[in-house]
Structures are given as structure tokens and as C-alpha cells.
């Protein structure tokens, strides 16, 4: 049997050893586990962004993986800690909605439990570092075969993020930029099917683009380009540059797209 996988997603950065401490706890309690990073430079406390990252990466792992998520601005408050099963994957996270999109993409919640059983925690947990003191030892226990039901009472509902869904009116689809990535690409929630197999015209901020085209490099360096991103939604980029900086646009900005009429054949 392959060694159990524990993935790590945090906003801890890479300068303080916070992730290092978490890794130490994991390997102390689950010596055979394989630790794999999803990302650690999620913007501080940005649960929406972390939820997108988790949704992008977690489903690429084999079922059975334990995903440890510590983007947790409510650490120390009454927000719950939860363990969630979906599609054979196990998520250990604060109950702040960070698992929403990943769980949706894996077919929805199979079962969820609160993490209340202190026997699985480190003794005398701090109020500021539940990643080390609660989430890590629980993830290690799960990777070592502990069942989710042992961790605490079953939960009927989880906190959910409520991103607005794209809407259509009068042939125009209105959606949003849901992520700005490392490259400054603007990832929208508008599925390529909006295109209907043809071309679309999209407006966001001061820009209007037609596409999608085949690749970032289908346009000249420095030009705006509309492509189908890696999640199947429309994405606005600047070749060899940053669309976010060019357009001054952040996550949440509205985008409007409509299919272009097929070009008339030029017989005239």
C-alpha cells in the first residue's frame, strides 16, 4: 500500500517556520505520511482565494489523500474545526467555507464531523496556532487510519462560501473575476460553453476583448488576450505581462460576455 498523503495549504509564507512546525508534528505522529505542499503564500486570511486553490489542486490527488488547510483568520474564536469527506478525499480545516469549492467539485459532502475530541490534539493548544496544535495532529491521526467519526460529533451543515453564480440576461452573461493568479491572469467564472463553440466578446474594466484564442502567445507580447483557462472558464491575460496590473483589476470585478455572431461570409 502506498504511504498516506497529507497535503498542506496555508497562508503562512516561508519565513517563520510555521509550516516547518506543522510538518514536524505531522511526521512525529504519522511517520510514514508523505507531505505534499499545495501552496503557502495564499494572501493572509483570504479564505475565498484559498478555497479556489484547494479546488484547483486537491482533486488532482488520488482518493485517500488528507488535505490539511490552515487559512484561518478566526483562529481561537468559536469557529469550528471540521473534518469533511468528499469523493474519497478527506479535508481538515476551519469551518469557514475554505473547503466549499473543492468539496463541490468532488461530488459534495459525504460526511462532516466537528473536531472536538481533545485526545487527538496536542496538549494545551495555543490560541493562535491551531495548525500546529489541532489540525496537524488530527490530520496525522486520519492519515494513520483514525476514522472521521472518532474526532467529534457529526455535523449537519458546514459554513459555505457563497460566490455569486454567473447570470444571463438578454444574451449577455455576467460573471466575475474569481481569481488573480501569480502571473496577473484574471480567471473568471464564465464557462467556455458561454461561447457556444464560437467566439465571444468580453468586457471588463476599460477593456473589450474578443476570443478565445489558442494560446497566450497568439497575440503580440504586451497585448491583452482572451483564452480558456485551465479550469475551463474564460481568462484574460497579457502576453508576457500582467492583466491585473494593466487593467487595475482585482478579484471580484464584474465581467460581461456575449457570443459573437458568426462572421458573414465575405461574398459581396
Amino acid at each position: 500500500m502506498a504511504a498516506p498523503i497529507i497535503t498542506l495549504l496555508t497562508d503562512f509564507g516561508d519565513e517563520d517556520g510555521f509550516v516547518g512546525a506543522v510538518r514536524g508534528v505531522l511526521l512525529s505522529r504519522a511517520p510514514a505520511a508523505r507531505l505534499v505542499d499545495l501552496a503557502h503564500h495564499v494572501p493572509t486570511g483570504d479564505v475565498e482565494k484559498a478555497a479556489r486553490v484547494l479546488s484547483r489542486a486537491a482533486p488532482c490527488f488520488p482518493p485517500g489523500a488528507v488535505h490539511l488547510v490552515v487559512v484561518d483568520p478566526g483562529v481561537g474564536t468559536e469557529r469550528k474545526a471540521v473534518v469533511v469527506e468528499a469523493g474519497g478525499h478527506i479535508f481538515v480545516a476551519p469551518d469557514n467555507g475554505v473547503v466549499t469549492y473543492a468539496v463541490d467539485s468532488l461530488g459534495g459532502v459525504r460526511v462532516a464531523h466537528a473536531i472536538t475530541e481533545r485526545a487527538y490534539w496536542r496538549p494545551s493548544p495555543s490560541v493562535t496556532f491551531h495548525g500546529r496544535d489541532i489540525f496537524a495532529p488530527v490530520a496525522a491521526a486520519l492519515a494513520s487510519g483514525t476514522g472521521v467519526a472518532a474526532l467529534g460529533p457529526k455535523l449537519a451543515t458546514l459554513y459555505r462560501l457563497a460566490a455569486p453564480a454567473p447570470e444571463e440576461a438578454a444574451g449577455v452573461w455576467r460573471g466575475h473575476v474569481i481569481e488573480v493568479d501569480h502571473f496577473g491572469n484574471l480567471i473568471t467564472d464564465l464557462p467556455v460553453e458561454v461561447c457556444g463553440g464560437a467566439r465571444v466578446r468580453c468586457a471588463l474594466g476599460s477593456a473589450t476583448l474578443e476570443g478565445p484564442v489558442a494560446a497566450y502567445a497568439s497575440v503580440d507580447p504586451g497585448e491583452l488576450v482572451l483564452v480558456v483557462g485551465s479550469a475551463g472558464t474564460l481568462e484574460i491575460a497579457v502576453r508576457d505581462g500582467s492583466a491585473a496590473r494593466r487593467l487595475g483589476i482585482r478579484s471580484g470585478a464584474p465581467v460581461a460576455c456575449h457570443p459573437l455572431a458568426p462572421p458573414r461570409s465575405s461574398k459581396a
Copy 2:
């Protein structure tokens, strides 16, 4: 038996492949070792910060772990390379004090040796990259079972960092900000016991705070907050923000705290 663990702590960043080269040397010479990162974005040459990071993360690992530390502004000079045992952990580092706090927290030095035996180095070591040419092959040898005594002569003393200890006078404890973390939180060296179980008033820079409170989120977003940090010392933060930026405070800044009289009961 579990595979040997080698942790890595450097100020190399993640853009040049310096850590990659170190990992390659480690796996070439200790093929079974598990490589685990503590942090790689320690500020350049900041031995004090690295020592804090090491102290935070290394003790979370199981005994037997080999901790490779390369924050080494004196590379190529006469500063020694050392191997240090403490609490069952093994540290491989420059003798610049970087192991001070970690070793203290693990019960002190059990034994220390200079790393002088060139048979364990890479041939013709460079003058700028001892991480690759000396520290990594030595760490690999240790992880593969070489004893510390084989590496060079025993050392009676190590270079130590000498952070000033908090001091009390007339009921006021005076300490320092010893770390600014990724979140801009100001970590002090004042143990929560200063509070004596009650509340304290702390002054640093232009701010005066009372606390500690239960969580960062015990105050409104953007407000300053005094909490007990994950090492058990008082910590000043801004909820969903950076206390370092707000107060213009860096590591080393003085902090003064005194216990608050228990509030009189409001019978009047």
C-alpha cells in the same frame, strides 16, 4: 525503522535553485532520507531570526532528525562549521549562534564537534556555497548513520547569540519584540506568566494595549490586539492586518508590561 529525516532551513529563497542543489546532494548521498523544509525565506543573513525559526520548528520533529541550517553570512571565513547534539536532535550549521535557542529549548548541548574531516565533504568545496559542498554531504552522512565524533574534534564551547532577557523593576517587565512574523505580528519575549493569570497593560512604540484576549478576532478588524502567542509569550497583532506596519516597529523594539490590578467590582 522510519527513514531518516533531514530538515532544511536557509535564507536562499526559491528562485535560484540553491536549495535544489542542496537537495540533490542530500539525495545523492542519503537516498533514503526524507527532506523536509523548515523555511527558506529567512531574511538574508539574519542569524537571529533563523535561530528563532529553528527554535520554533525543530523541536516539533521526532528525535533523530538532522537539522541542516544554512544562514551563513560568514561563509568562507574562519567561522567554524559544527555539528551539535541536543535532546536527540542533530544540528549541522555554521558556528554563528543560529542553533542557540533551539538547543536551549531541547535541554542544551549534549555534545558538539567541529566539521573538519574533509572526507565527508564534496571535493574542492567552493568558498561561497558551503551549504552544497560541506553542510549537505555532512548532513547526509549523519542521516546515514555516521557518528558526530567522526566529523572533527570535539568543541568545548559554541558561539552563542545573546538576546537580552526580560527584566523586572518596580513591577514593570521590560522585554523586546524578538520577531516580526509573516503576518506582521510582533512576538515578544515576555512570558504570559507575567500576567500572573490576570490582565496586563503593555506599551510599545506609540501603542498601549490591555489583554491578553482570547483570539486575534476578539477585536474588530483593523484593531490592535494583545494575545498569548504560540510560544507562550505576549504578542501584539492587528486583526486582519499588520501590527508591524501599523506601529512602524521592527524586531528588537522594547516592550514594557505590568499586571493590571484586578478591576474593582462595580458595586458603587
Copy 3:
């Protein structure tokens, strides 16, 4: 037999989970593989820098390692994806020259194949994320024992980067800064043999330096220093500072060096 090693070199950063997705695909398809990072903060689309990083790190690994390189500004265009064998190492990369220097340092190309056999790809690959959809599953297949010839037709030539070689005229060697590293050190392509065992004088930008000296710390903090870098070429640094910032110099800047006459003995 040791588990197969797959190294990862990208410009993906650490905020979006792009590397996380790649790691998930690798472990889904090569469960026994060991994933090792070379670097992920290569400047966006900087193929020349990535080629230098790969050359620095890849040869430190044991032969048999599979090196997955995704610095790929031409993703989605007609640029080929290739697998290249050199010195027992296997490289999976876009055919944009990124393997040039690493392969040269490993004795040159033994064999190269285009990656065209879609059976090894993820189904319906995206146009923006070949790292996840093409390079990762191919690297996993190679790490699991698939031969390079299975992936597509043999290639007679690869795209090569064409860095200008240092040239000598009238006793002066003219070369270039080929990398600026995390520390702001300026790494040149001038081999230390230029020195002829003696000292040299180097000019770049507004600075003239003599050296090399034994270590960065051979000069006072804040001073410019000329050393022999970890690849054996001359390197200009500022002790405890950034030479790139001090001199306002970027990769590509010209450097001129000439041997110094041995100092006359001071008998006069």
C-alpha cells in the same frame, strides 16, 4: 531500489496551487515517486534564468532523476514538448532551450524525443496548463519506467539558448552577468581560470574591483567584493547587501576583466 526522483522547476510561484496540482497528478500516476523542488519563483517566463537554475541544481541529483521543467511562455503554441536524456538524467520540458546549459554540463544530448503520444497525457489537455496536463503525466510515466522512445518521434535537434561566450582581446576578457541571484550577487560567465592563479581587475557598470578574495566577508559590510562563485566563475557581491541594487545592474550586463601583474616586491 531507491524510489524514482522527480524534480520540479517552474515559474508558478506559491500562491495559486499550480504546483500543487502538478504534484497531485504526479503522485496519482507515479505513487512511489519522490517529488523534490528545484525552484518555483523563477521570474515569469524567464527561460534563460530557468536554464541557469536547472544547470545549477539538476546535476547534483543522482542519475536516473526525472527533471520536470515548466517555464513555458509559449504554452499552447506550436513549440514542442520534449524529453531529453543526458548523462543518465531525463528532462521533460518545453523545447524552448531551458535544458541547454544543464544538458551541456551533463555531456550533451544522448537522445531527444518529441512528446506527441497522447496516450501519456491527461485527456482533453488545456491550452494554458501543459504542466498539469502533459508534462506531469509524462514525467510520471518516465519515473514509472516508460522509455523515452514511447513518447513520440526522435528529434535530431533541440532549440538552444545562445548565450554569448566570453571573448578575449588584447589581454582583456569580456563576458557578462549571466544571473542575479536572491542575494543580489552578480554571477558572471568568466571562469576563474581567467585569473591565471593570480589576481584580476574587473569592471562592470560604474565599479572596478580587484580580486578574487577568499570570502564575501573578506571586506567590510556594505563593500563590493569579487569572489569565485559556486560554479567557478567570477562573482561580484556586496557584503551583507545587494550588488545588483548598489550598481543598478541586471542580468546581461557586460563585464571586463584582465589579470593584474603580480605586485612588485616592495624592496625599494
